[in-house]
């Protein structure tokens, strides 16, 4: 089945080509520099995964899961794990209609060597989060690494997934495709941590398909990425579901961070919130492209979208494009966006109590970030994020 999907994606990519700035989703993010990366055909398994491979961790090297981590994985008996090629139902692999229009999504899908399907058994509740570590080897300089994995939660599942990228010092183009199927009455907490000191480029396509009464929390912190563009598309297809997205991005130098979020309210009585904050130093840039679509009949929708950008340099630039499309008449939807420097009155207030100007600035930056971090679901991720934030501010 994989070959059939790849054939379709290959022809779609050939048809569309690399995205230009004329496209809404790429208006402020150039794809030009991504063209130089060649598809990774090597079979590098030499990458050291150090001491990361504990029993709660699934390790992927260059997009492929390691057998060692899979064998050791504590929850493996509570799951069905298959190669995507083994799936008979093509619908399991289908993704957002928005991604269907994305050339680089198709480029990624058409060039993966394999992918995994993880299905959690009905009723499984894991006390300890699953950690997913994506290792990218040193030999990936100039290469494009594509991966595609599908996670299916069944009724009663309560699963936390913490995902981190570990770059081993190469400059690669990491193209990550993921699908999450959340069946009725499930809870998924998905944390994404990007802390990359290499010159790598990251492009993520994350699709979440939600059934009835699902609670989905997405927490993400992005720090030190040269180029990081992350698509999050969510279909709330049945009533009673709730989605909370909290994203904090920190950028310096000429780093570029881009969040594309599409929230499709296709059913009644669903709630969603998007909170995205960017803090920019130097000549860095960020993009927030968020859209909420409330379909005809999706009554009693309650949706909120907020993007706040803090510019710590006169040369930093934030592009914000919050959008609402509402086709139902009994809904509560709000959106807002602010971009600006640190508030002078707040700095004066703190300094008037004897606090040094540099300390006052740092307190205010932390406070701005903390309003996102305090809503992170996982305590460890919140603490790690706060530490990363402190280092970034001091750095």
């Amino acid at each position: 089945m994989l070959k059939k999907i790849q054939k379709h994606s290959n022809s779609r990519f050939e048809e569309i080509g690399y995205p230009s700035k004329k496209l809404e989703n790429w208006k402020f993010s150039s794809s030009k520099h991504l063209k130089k990366y060649l598809s990774n055909n090597s079979d590098d398994k030499d990458t050291s995964i150090d001491n990361h491979d504990d029993e709660y961790t699934l390790c992927f090297i260059n997009g492929e899961i390691t057998l060692e981590s899979l064998n050791k994985f504590i929850y493996k008996d509570d799951m069905t794990i298959l190669d995507i090629d083994q799936l008979s139902d093509e619908n399991i692999c289908s993704t957002s209609s928005n991604f269907e229009k994305e050339a680089l999504f198709h480029l990624g899908l058409s060039t993966i060597k394999s992918g995994k399907y993880f299905e959690f058994k009905k009723g499984s509740k894991f006390d300890t989060p699953i950690q997913i570590l994506n290792f990218y080897s040193k030999k990936n300089e100039g290469l494009r690494i594509s991966s595609f994995n599908i996670f299916k939660l069944n009724q009663g599942n309560n699963i936390s997934i913490i995902e981190k990228d570990v770059n081993k010092g190469s400059s690669s183009f990491n193209l990550s495709l993921k699908k999450f199927i959340c069946s009725e009455n499930t809870i998924l907490n998905h944390s994404m941590m990007y802390d990359d000191s290499t010159e790598s480029n990251y492009l993520g396509y994350n699709y979440y398909e939600l059934g009835r009464n699902v609670l989905l929390n997405i927490d993400s912190m992005n720090i030190n990425s040269t180029f990081n563009k992350n698509f999050i598309d969510i279909d709330l297809n049945k009533e009673g579901s709730e989605v909370k997205i909290n994203i904090l991005n920190l950028a310096r130098n000429q780093q570029h961070l881009d969040n594309n979020i599409l929230m499709n309210h296709n059913a009644e009585h669903c709630i969603s919130s998007q909170n995205v904050r960017n803090i920019l130093k130097d000549r860095s840039t960020c993009v927030f492209n968020g859209k909420v679509i409330v379909a005809d009949g999706a009554q009693q929708t309650d949706s909120n979208q907020s993007n706040k950008n803090l510019l710590l340099s006169q040369n930093a630039t934030a592009h914000s494009n919050p959008q609402l499309e509402i086709y139902a008449d009994d809904v509560k939807c709000g959106h807002g966006s602010t971009t600006g420097a640190l508030d002078k009155d707040s700095i004066f207030y703190l300094r008037a109590r004897g606090i040094k100007e540099s300390d006052a600035n740092n307190i205010l930056v932390k406070a701005f970030a903390k309003e996102i971090l305090q809503d992170f679901v996982n305590d460890d991720i919140r603490n790690l994020s706060e530490n990363n934030l402190n280092h970034w501010i001091d750095g």
Binding site: D343, K344, D345, S346, F348, Y349, L350, R351, A352, R353, G354, I355, K356, E357, D359, A360, I363, L364, K366, A367, F368, A369, K370, E371, Q374
Partner: protein
């Protein structure tokens, strides 16, 4: 304590203070009254070092040290405290964190050790209780979602915790009900002793029913036009400011 000589200041090129002369000795409470727009709050901000105000001439000295060009934080560390008319809300920074940061900065400047958490909490809780505030006040973000009364009580909490040498109260009585006004006045009276000074900026007499000033100044169009005792307050209450305009 503080000596202001021929102070001139402007905001966005508009002259506001046009030659202020004021001296407040240690142990005294002075009041400045005046109409809206006479420059009272600008004077408070210039004393505190607010950089939106441009000093065009004159000088400010505290305990004999010229602070006219001093940074905002160094003035505070020298013992100056501005009780804000409109305290800003800073979401994400708890009152406890803020107060400890301010106290630690002061102690460091004074060559003293940092106040430990136990001592800090004991001191803060005592003052909170006197101000009629719950201990949970410390966990709240600075002035975020505070009522008008809570904001002013928060300023008094900071005043009593930091124990400065000179407190400048910029319309601290505005927007307070009678009970809150009494509480705030009680806090100021508790703060006051023979070794510190207070400058109260106000429109109204009512705060002065609870805090007794030593000297009253009337400010009109950026200048102090008359000084006297409490009888001056009563005259203003009765006749307004018109009779003082030349």
């Amino acid at each position: 304590m503080i000596k202001i000589k021929n102070l001139k200041a402007s905001i966005e090129d508009k002259a506001i203070l046009k030659g202020i002369n004021l001296e407040i000795p240690k142990g005294e409470i002075h009041v400045i009254m005046g109409r809206n727009g006479s420059g009272k709050s600008t004077l408070a901000n210039v004393i505190a070092g607010n950089e939106t105000c441009e000093v065009d001439g004159g000088s400010i000295a505290m305990n004999g040290n010229d602070i006219t060009e001093m940074s905002i934080e160094n003035r505070a560390l020298q013992g100056l405290f501005l009780c804000f008319q409109y305290p800003v809300a800073i979401p994400g920074v708890s009152m406890a964190y803020f107060l400890r940061a301010a106290l630690n900065a002061k102690n460091k400047h004074d060559g003293e050790e940092e106040m430990d958490a136990v001592q800090f909490l004991a001191t803060a809780k005592k003052i909170l209780s006197e101000l009629g505030l719950d201990d949970s006040f410390l966990k709240r973000s600075i002035n975020d979602g505070f009522s008008g009364g809570e904001k002013k009580k928060s300023e008094i909490l900071q005043l009593l915790m930091l124990n400065p040498q000179l407190a400048v109260l910029d319309e601290t009585d505005s927007g307070l009900d009678v009970d809150a006004l009494r509480t705030v006045a009680k806090g100021v009276n508790e703060f006051k002793n023979d070794n510190n000074s207070v400058l109260i900026i106000t429109h109204y007499q009512r705060l002065l029913e609870y805090i007794k000033p030593d000297v009253v100044h009337i400010m009109i169009d950026g200048k102090i036009v008359k000084s006297g005792d409490m009888t001056l307050v009563h005259e203003v209450e009765k006749n307004g400011y018109s009779w003082l305009v030349k």
